[in-house]
């Protein structure tokens, strides 16, 4: 198979990198097939071999909704914007579980892939991005109990009239997209910090738990006292969760300021996350 080698298309220069952002976007694009295959790998390894795998993803939001129903509705009596509580909880979880899963898996990128990263080079950013994409499958699975629950209340209960199907439905992917960007940014920060300090892994788990209660997952934004309004502004995850409820259930309170601040914060977290991630990525393999 003698063939004349085409002149090398590019030159790789290896030297200590300087500067803040040295991401080679073209290279990232070159590796897009790897992204697809990593997503495929996650899908197969998670769902193909086990019977319970997909079932678990159906069960988890239902169980959570049941627990929230008992604690936050029956006991604590936290109102849910006149939405039937189970539907309210299932809807919030679509965005929140997606966020939490991305951050939990993506936040351990360097720890979980230490071996792979020590043996072969590819743009490391591909891995956390693939996690965010692969977890969309779980969101799809979670939609099943949500849709069933929605259909039940819509067509078989008097609540039906308060659950209109509107054009807002078509905007539902937008809050999920913001969730994806924000969770990517947070997981980049977490991967960078846990690569340097292993024991932060435990702290991160707490962080996610606490973060959930600071997010309108089991309570609506409309019910927080005015002096706590800043939470919606300071927590960039508050807006997508509330916005998803507006899109899917037609219920929620959001002002333009909150939306804009949340989007700006999301972009800031993502941008700084990328910088932190690639600063660690350069020599992380010398230490893990």
């Amino acid at each position: 198979m003698a063939e004349i080698t085409a002149p090398p298309t590019y030159e790789i220069v290896i030297q200590p990198s300087r500067g803040w952002l040295t991401i080679d976007w073209r290279e990232l694009w070159e590796y897009r097939d790897l992204l697809v295959l990593l997503v495929q790998r996650d899908f197969i390894s998670r769902y193909k071999q086990t019977l319970l795998g997909p079932l678990w993803h159906l069960l988890q939001p239902v169980m959570n909704a049941a627990v929230y129903f008992v604690i936050f509705w029956l006991i604590a009596r936290i109102p849910t914007d006149d939405v039937p509580p189970p539907l309210f909880y299932l809807c919030s979880q679509l965005a929140w579980n997606y966020f939490a899963q991305n951050v939990t898996i993506g936040g351990a990128t360097f720890i979980n892939n230490a071996h792979l990263f020590g043996k072969v080079y590819f743009p490391r950013l591909i891995v956390p991005v693939s996690v965010v994409v692969a977890n969309l499958i779980a969101v799809g699975l979670q939609l099943v109990p949500f849709i069933l629950c929605f259909a039940y209340y819509r067509f078989f209960t008097p609540h039906g009239a308060t659950l209109p199907l509107t054009w807002w439905l078509l905007l539902a992917p937008l809050p999920l997209f913001q969730t994806a960007l924000l969770s990517l940014g947070v997981s980049l920060w977490m991967s960078a910090s846990t690569a340097k300090y292993r024991d932060l892994v435990h702290l991160n788990q707490y962080l996610i738990q606490i973060w959930m209660f600071a997010t309108p997952v089991v309570w609506p934004l409309s019910k927080i006292p005015p002096e706590w309004k800043w939470i919606a502004l300071a927590n960039p995850m508050a807006v997508p969760v509330e916005a998803l409820r507006i899109c899917l259930l037609g219920r929620g309170t959001l002002g333009a300021t909150e939306v804009i601040v949340s989007i700006l914060l999301t972009l800031a977290v993502l941008a700084t996350g990328i910088v932190a991630f690639q600063k660690v990525e350069r020599t992380v393999i010398d230490s893990v």
């Binding site: 590019y10 030159e11 290896i14 030297q15 790998r41 072969v120 024991d199």
Partner: protein, 433 residues
């Protein structure tokens, strides 16, 4: 034509022990100690000092690689040799972009694929087919390129009908074959390979070496090959680099470089004419199970020496101590020529008892006279449990010279080709019509 690899003053500084800091607590402690970097966890110690020429600019740092420069032309196969810890892997890791250099730079013209391990990124749950695509993509190939090479890869790997079986059900041989096949068919302009041929059976190793040679000679690609297999480096490479103490010590023809490496790696001071004796020293090669006491090369009179007559037998004695009960361990002696070709390997496996109990032992191998050629040989010794693990990793300990009247009975010392030169009967007689 521009060189395909240009390396200029490449250096890599490593921090000993506290690399970064592994926990927040350590980091805080460090902060409050006010610059007192005196007690890093794994500081250089008396037993494990940093060689003088590798000490870095700050305490507890050392140069994994220091001022290495060279160039490689397209289509060359470069062998990199050197002792463990010399910096070979560091060089390869920098060239593969797994880690960054501290200073200096390297320019690689073309696509690079590095094979530091066979089967990196293989997922046990995925089938052979799925793994070929995933692994190919991890190594930097496009999906379409892999698809185009798919049949060739499957054929080379000899996995045939198992291609749609999850690789967790593969035998280790099949796994290795498949993994190498993917890498070998990638067609990068530059292929970096680290010691991966140490796995797999002999037949497959040969096939891999053949494939590497083909990649370089027919497709004009450059292969960068780090190995302890002197025979492979010698037969495959046109050029070799010797790295020692993080520095590039010698470059040139593989024969010269290997010869330099093997002669330089002999422990000179402890070697007294054909023997090396530790007798319980701390620096004796040892592990939890076995410690070497000494190795001796004896002439027929039982006297240690380092020059032997070609027609006289040579005894190689290994004195060792079993420290813990062992099962199925064996010693292997490999004789290499000074140029790094394998002469032969022998083992005492059949003569060892199945269970070795703690105590002092001696195992001796008798090399008959009339076998070796007139040249320099190096004695490589290792102890392992076949199919399980290495007990004492192999190392070259002694060298000796075979001289005198050759086995071919030619009286003048002409250089005779061959790693051995057995005495062979000839018969010359008038042919009957």
């Amino acid at each position: 034509m521009k060189p395909v690899v240009e390396v200029e003053n490449l250096s890599k500084l490593y921090r000993l022990g506290a690399i970064g800091a592994s926990s927040v607590r350590e980091s805080l402690e460090k902060l409050f100690r006010r610059g007192g970097n005196g007690t890093a966890p794994k500081a250089a110690t008396k037993e494990n000092p940093i060689a003088d020429d590798r000490v870095g600019p700050e305490p507890n740092t050392f140069w994994g690689l220091k001022d290495v420069s060279f160039t490689v032309n397209p289509g060359e196969i470069i062998g990199v040799v050197g002792r463990n810890g010399a910096g070979k892997s560091t060089l390869l890791k920098i060239l593969s972009r797994i880690t960054e250099p501290t200073s200096g730079r390297a320019i690689l013209r073309g696509r690079v694929v590095s094979l530091l391990e066979v089967g990196t990124g293989f997922h046990p749950e995925l089938t052979g087919r799925e793994n070929i695509f995933l692994n190919g993509a991890i190594l930097g190939m496009k999906r379409a390129e892999i698809a185009a090479k798919f049949d060739e890869i499957v054929e080379f790997a000899e996995v045939g009908k198992f291609i749609d079986t999850p690789v967790k059900r593969y035998s280790s041989g099949m796994f290795v074959r498949l993994a190498f096949a993917v890498a070998a068919h990638l067609e990068p302009e530059i292929l970096l390979i680290d010691e991966v041929l140490a796995v797999g059976d002999a037949g497959f190793q040969k096939k891999c070496l053949g494939k590497m040679g083909e990649v370089a000679s027919q497709q004009g690609r450059t292969v960068f090959f780090v190995s302890h297999n002197m025979g492979a480096v010698r037969s495959l490479c046109e050029h070799a680099l010797l790295i020692d103490g993080g520095r590039l010590v010698k470059t040139g023809h593989p024969g010269d470089v290997i010869s330099h490496y093997l002669s330089a790696s002999m422990p000179k001071d402890s070697e007294i004419e054909g023997q090396i004796w530790w007798n319980g020293d701390k620096d004796a090669p040892r592990c939890d199970d076995v410690a070497l006491r000494g190795i001796r090369l004896l002439n027929p009179e039982g006297v240690p020496q380092s020059t032997f007559e070609a027609d006289k037998p040579i005894t190689i004695e290994i004195h060792y101590q079993i420290l813990q009960r062992l099962r199925g361990a064996r010693f292997c002696i490999t004789l290499l020529t000074q140029e790094g070709e394998y002469a032969f390997t022998a083992t005492d496996h059949l003569f060892q008892s199945e269970t070795q109990l703690p105590g002092s032992y001696k195992t001796a191998c008798l090399i008959p006279g009339g076998l070796l050629n007139r040249r320099n040989y190096v004695v490589h010794v290792q102890c392992d449990i076949p199919g399980e693990r290495y007990v004492l990793p192999g190392a070259e300990y002694l060298s000796f010279n075979v001289a005198g009247v050759g086995n071919q009975s030619s009286n003048f010392p002409e250089p005779w080709p061959g790693v051995v030169c057995p005495r062979i009967e000839w018969k010359v007689e008038p042919a009957l019509k």
